[in-house]
Structure formats: C-alpha cells, structure tokens
C-alpha cells in the first residue's frame, strides 16, 4: 500500500461520487419521461436532446432561488437537516460493489469505494441516520404540516427499518458474511439468492420503497394530505438537497437489492478480452447497471400505478405481515441451512456460499 494505491482509491471514490450525481440527474429525467409515457403525455422534452438537460435546468433554477429561514424555525437545526439527509445517502452507497475488481499492471483497482467487513450493518446504520434529516426538518420548521410529516416519518421509517434488517438476515446466514463483495462472490459461485430467498427479496425491496418515502408509501410528503409533508417549509437549494437525497436513496435501494439478491455484477456473459485486456469488469458493470436500472424502473412503475396507503394500513402491513413473515423466514432458513450443513438434508438448492 503506497501512495499510488491511495491515489487509485481516491480516484474510484471521486468517480463513483460523480457517477451518483450524474445518475440522480438522469433518474429524475427517466422518471419524468417514464411516468409521462405511462400517462399519455410527453414529459420534459425541450431542454437539451430528449429533455435530458431538464434536471440541470431545474437545478439551476433552484440554485437561484432565495434561501431563507422561516421566522418560527429553529435556525440551526433547520439549516443542518438537509445535510443530515444528504450525507448518509451518499455514505450508504460506498459499500456497493459495482463490478469485479481488476488489475492494472500489478495494481489492484476495486470497483467499490470501501469493502467494509460490516457492509450490511453500515447500510442499516446509514438509513437509520437518514431518518433524522426528515424528522428534524419537519420539527425545526416550527410549522404544522411539516410537524405532522415528521411524526409520520419517524414511525414509518423505524418500522420498515426492522423489516429491512429481518429481510437481510437470511442472506447473511446463506452467505456467511456481512461484506457486500463477499455476498456477491458467494452468489457468483452457485446461484442468485433471489431463487431460494424470494420472500426476503420482495420484503427488502418493498421496505426499501417505504424507507425512501416513495409511493405508495409516500405518506411523509403525501401531497394531497400534508401539502409537502416534512419539507413544506423548504425551498431553493435546501429543497434540492432533500430531492437529491431522495433520488440517491432510490439508487441505493436498487443497487443493494441487486447486490444482495440479484447476484450483483454477475451475469450470463462475463468473459472476453479486447486487445489483450480482460473485459470482465466492463461486463460486470454492465450487468450491475442493467439490473439496477430495471429495479429503478420498477420504482417508477409502482409510483404511477398505485394509490397511497393510509397510515394505519401501512403500520399494520409492516408490523403484522412483513415482520411476522420475515421472522418466520429467518427461522426457516436457519433450520434449512443447519440441516444442509449437517448433511441431514441434501444440498437441494446448491450449498450456502461459504
């Protein structure tokens, strides 16, 4: 480990960071065009080719808006809340492996910012911290609609946080590691975990939609009820940060679902060379982006298709159905694994990835 390695890793971090911002911009455009396509309208098509620069135009517009703090707000918390929402969103993405690492000469280039050995726990930590952004935004505004939104947020997110961690546990049991790259490695040897763990996979994705406050779980900013919920009092650049955080979170959830259940960067084609260089990392990146893209589309698809749940329905669904089912799945999976390890059960689905 010398300065070249540090340089390589710094470059990876900067590239990934820039890519996240770029993807967010694209995603907003993709969502608006996708929704427009399903809603028999055109969508943004004026700024740039196919309206691709519409998000940039919106960002510029929001940047030139006056930034002010409402009289009744708690000034410090009001100013910090967007950061609390934005920062964890970026930090959660650091653990996602975008592709297999590769070598340039004898230098190793990882396609992942940080391969933490507690990877999954890091994700849960960050999504827990991100809650504070919205809660404090709603509370510090000193206004009524945001307050109601903040109260909703606190209950909704902690409930689905639980579902999320319960849905991850079977994967951890199966893979025998908490590291995200380890989980992807384990899936490359045998099968994607979505095959045996279809129930946790669905539970994880659904709770991911709830965590990111996307329809049909967008009760925190339910437009027709709470106007804009927790961020009603925010405008201009601070609003943009919440917006950016939301879309980063959507990307995170899609990327993590891909990593945990859909085999990460694994795909049917992972070989070949161009001019003596292995293109495996490119294939890996391609498959990863493809799978993540499909999940992003599902986010949009669900949004335009479904009405919003009511609060008690959301909580009942979370606590009585999702948690119950997932606890049962955790127990069942641990029994199956134990039996397979002991040889009492044939390795009918291919063995755990350890």
């Amino acid at each position: 480990m010398d300065w070249v390695d540090y340089l390589i890793r710094s470059v990876v971090a900067v590239v990934v960071f820039a890519a996240i911002l770029g993807t967010c911009t694209l995603l907003v455009w993709f969502e608006r065009r996708g929704a427009a396509w399903m809603q028999v309208r055109v969508g943004p098509n004026k700024a740039g080719p196919f309206g691709l620069l519409q998000t940039v135009a919106d960002a510029v517009k929001l940047l030139t808006k006056e930034v002010f703090v409402p009289d009744s707000a708690d000034p410090l918390v009001y100013r910090i809340a967007p950061l609390l929402s934005l920062l964890p969103a970026f930090l959660a993405l650091t653990i996602v492996p975008f592709g297999p690492g590769f070598h340039i000469g004898d230098r190793y280039v990882p396609m992942q910012i940080a391969d933490l050995n507690i990877g999954i726990l890091w994700l849960l930590c960050m999504s827990s911290i991100a809650v504070y952004g919205y809660i404090l935004a709603g509370w510090s505004s000193g206004s009524k609609y945001p307050l109601l939104g903040a109260v909703r947020q606190s209950a909704q997110v902690i409930s689905y946080e639980l579902v999320m961690s319960l849905a991850i546990i079977p994967v951890v049991i199966w893979a025998g590691t908490l590291s995200t790259s380890g989980i992807v490695e384990a899936q490359s040897r045998y099968h994607w975990y979505v095959v045996p763990l279809i129930v946790p996979a669905i539970a994880f994705f659904v709770s991911g939609i709830a965590e990111t406050n996307r329809p049909p779980f967008d009760l925190v900013e339910a437009e027709s009820e709470l106007v804009a919920g927790a961020i009603t009092e925010y405008g201009g650049v601070r609003f943009m940060m919440f917006f950016l955080a939301e879309y980063t979170n959507i990307i995170t959830i899609s990327a993590i679902t891909t990593t945990l259940f859909l085999g990460g960067w694994n795909g049917p084609i992972l070989f070949g060379t161009i001019a003596g260089w292995s293109v495996v990392p490119l294939w890996g990146l391609f498959w990863f982006l493809l799978k993540t893209g499909v999940l992003l589309f599902v986010f949009i698809w669900v949004r335009v298709s479904l009405p919003r749940l009511r609060y008690d329905q959301l909580m009942t669904f979370g606590w009585k159905i999702m948690i119950g089912v997932n606890v049962a799945v955790v127990l069942a999976v641990s029994f199956v694994i134990a039996l397979m390890e002991q040889g009492a059960l044939p390795m009918f689905w291919a063995p755990p990835g350890r």
């Binding site: 809603q39 009524k144 009760l219 027709s224 709470l226 479904l306 009405p307 749940l309 609060y311 008690d312």
Partner: protein, 388 residues
C-alpha cells in the same frame, strides 16, 4: 359498594387505562388550516380543523372565498345575459347550469321549445355530465395518490369537450341556450362523431373500473370511509350521487322529468353503503348510464326548427316559478321571480355543492387526515357551485 366490587372496578379501570396507553399524555389541541391554498380542496375552500395528532376532532368549513354575488348580478341582466352568468356556477358542467334557468323562463312565458331542441339539450347536458364525472374519476384517484388515471380520463374528457365545442363553440361555458331554443343546429357529422366518443367513454369507464376501483389499496382507502347514513344525508339536503350512494333513489331526471328524460330509458344508480367508495362508484355507473342516454337520443333525434316562436325582445310575464334539474353534482334549482320586463326581479339558486358541503362538520368529526381528504374528494364539490 362492597370492597370486592370496588376492587374489581378499580382493576377494571386500571385495565382500561392500560389498554389505552397512548391516550395518557394530554396535549393542547392544534388548530390546522386546511385550505384555502391546499392541493386537495379544489380551489379556495377552507376547513378550520382542530386536530389531535392526526385525528380531526372538530371541523368548521369556511365558505365565501369565491363569492361573486351572482344572484344579485342576475337582477341587472337580461334573460339572455343571465345564461352567461350561471355557466360559471359549477364550471365543470356549465351547460347543465343553463338548463333549469332557461326552463324556468320558458315556463313563465308559457313557451315550449321544439322537440329537436329538447333532444339536443338533453344530449349536451349528458355530455357535460360525462365531462364532469371523468374529471372526478381522475381527480379522486389523485387525492388517494393514484396519479395515472387522471391523465387517461382527462384525455377522454377532452374528446367530450371537443364535441361540446363543435356544437356550441365553448368548452366550459357554452352559453348556448336561448329562451325558446338554442343558438345553432348540430354541425354536420356530429351524430357519428358523438357515437364514436361514447364508445371511448364507455371503454374508459371499464378501464377505470378495473384499474382504480379494482385496486386493493383504493378499496381499502375508500370502503367504509365517510359513511353518510340515509337519514343524515336527507337531513342535510345532500343530493346527487352522494345521496344515491346512501340508498335514496332520488333523481330529478326520473322523478320530475324535464327535457326528454321521460322518453329515454335509463337506470337510477343507487348503492346502500353510503361510503366514499359507493359515491365514487355511483358516479362511474352514472357515466355509463349517461352514454346510454346519449345513444338513445342520437337515434331518436327528430328534425325540425331549433327555435320556438318567441318575441324579438324577451319579456317574461310576472310570476314565480321553481324549476329543478339533476346536475352532475346533484340537484340544482332556480327560483325565478319576475315582475314583468326584460330582467328577472330575483333569482335564487339552489346549488348542489352548497348543501353537499354542509354535511362536512358532521361527517368529518373524528376522522383521520387521510380519510378527510378521501371524504372531501368523494363528496365532489365545485367551489363556484358552493360560493356562487
């Protein structure tokens, strides 16, 4: 009371207190303004709600943000000019508002419009009804968070509005009726075009039925929410689909037929549930009935003049008359007092939305915020119709 009993009741009280853990903390009530500038109030309607958490304990509707004094304005307009005013009451179905007013003037003058006029008026009223209900089916979805149906229903509403425009020249405010007749005959090719659009509207109804009314979340959100019992509904003078959903088969088109409603065959759609779902579903079914009416009218459309014999200057003889009609939002009536001459002496309008809204303080007591929005949407009022 013996000691055993008192002990029992004490433990029972403790149990009760235990079961309602969350009610122990007392906080002052929060007063929340819902409206006038709120995404779900469809205009400048305001509710002052006392909320406890998200439960609404008391609600007071504040009307009048859109008061334009139309009844007073009617007293200084000639009869032909008044139609332009009443167009703007329930602005989504402007055409329907003209009908009862024109009928009341015709009644006082003792004129009956020729049969062709009656048919065309019926067709256009029903088209306006469909346009209004298509807006409802879309916007009700939006209130519950379903964004997509809106765009689809609006697309088909556009076709209906195009039809209205091709006949009257106006999309929202046709101002097409004259005392004793209508401004112009149907344009060539209207009958075929209209029949095609009716097919589209029917198809749209089927889609909304399957996609929105068949959606589990939608059903969960609306079934059993905001139930108006029949007696309460009648007490508050609720009308239209809102009361039919509670089980009262009141429809002016059948009870007191005007235009040619006695010559066409249609069902009065009722429901017994009285909740938000039933109200919305009644409107969906009524849209289907409406296309049925239009098809029959198109088939039976007689030829003939489009204007009765009326004097050059409309002068209504002295008298009083009340004429009511079944508008998309409910029953609309005009109480017209004439003292002779070219302008009405007094016009009192009974608009459906005003009475429908009056049930809100009773209906919204104790509901949650999300249900409040669902109920507001399902009552379907238009602010111009509430405030006049």
């Amino acid at each position: 009371m013996t000691s055993v009993q008192s002990h029992l009741s004490a433990s029972f009280a403790a149990h009760l207190a235990d079961a309602q853990v969350a009610v122990e903390i007392e906080t002052p009530e929060m007063t929340l303004n819902i409206g006038p500038q709120h995404p779900s109030t469809h205009g400048v309607f305001r509710l002052i709600a006392k909320v406890d958490g998200e439960r609404v304990t008391e609600v007071e509707p504040v009307l009048g943000y859109m008061h334009r004094g139309y009844e007073k304005l009617c007293e200084v307009r000639t009869y032909a000019q008044v139609t332009a005013l009443v167009n703007r009451l329930d602005w989504l179905s402007g055409y329907c508002n003209e009908i009862p007013f024109i009928l009341s003037a015709e009644k006082l003058m003792g004129i009956e419009a020729p049969p062709r006029v009656q048919y065309i008026r019926t067709i256009l009223s029903e088209l306006a009804r469909q346009a209004t209900f298509l807006v409802f089916l879309g916007s009700f979805g939006i209130e519950l968070g379903a964004l997509t149906p809106f765009f689809h229903t609006m697309r088909d509403r556009e076709k209906v509005l195009d039809l209205l425009e091709s006949v009257t020249g106006g999309r929202f405010h046709p101002n097409f009726n004259r005392v004793g007749g209508i401004l112009d005959d149907l344009p060539p090719g209207f009958v075929e075009e209209c029949a095609a659009v009716m097919d589209d509207v029917d198809k749209m109804c089927d889609q909304v039925d399957a996609l929105l009314f068949g959606n589990d979340i939608f059903r969960e959100r609306t079934l059993g929410v905001g139930v108006i019992p029949l007696d309460k509904g009648l007490e508050y003078g609720v009308s239209g689909a809102n009361i039919r959903a509670s089980g009262c088969a009141a429809d002016v088109r059948r009870d007191e037929p005007y235009l040619v409603y006695d010559e066409v065959d249609f069902d009065v759609v009722t429901d017994t549930r009285g909740d938000a779902f039933a109200r919305a579903y009644c409107r969906l079914q009524e849209t289907r009935e409406s296309t049925r009416i239009v098809r029959q009218c198109l088939k039976a459309l007689p030829s003939g003049p489009i204007m009765a014999k009326v004097p050059k200057v409309i002068q209504v003889p002295p008298g009083e008359v009340y004429v009511r009609a079944e508008n998309p939002l409910g029953e609309m009536g005009y109480y017209l007092v004439s003292r002779g001459g070219r302008i009405p002496y007094r016009v009192k309008v009974r608009t459906a939305s005003f009475n429908n809204v009056s049930v809100l303080p009773w209906l919204l007591e104790g509901v949650f915020m999300p249900d409040l929005i669902a109920i507001l949407g399902s009552l379907y009022f238009i602010l111009g119709d509430v405030d006049r």
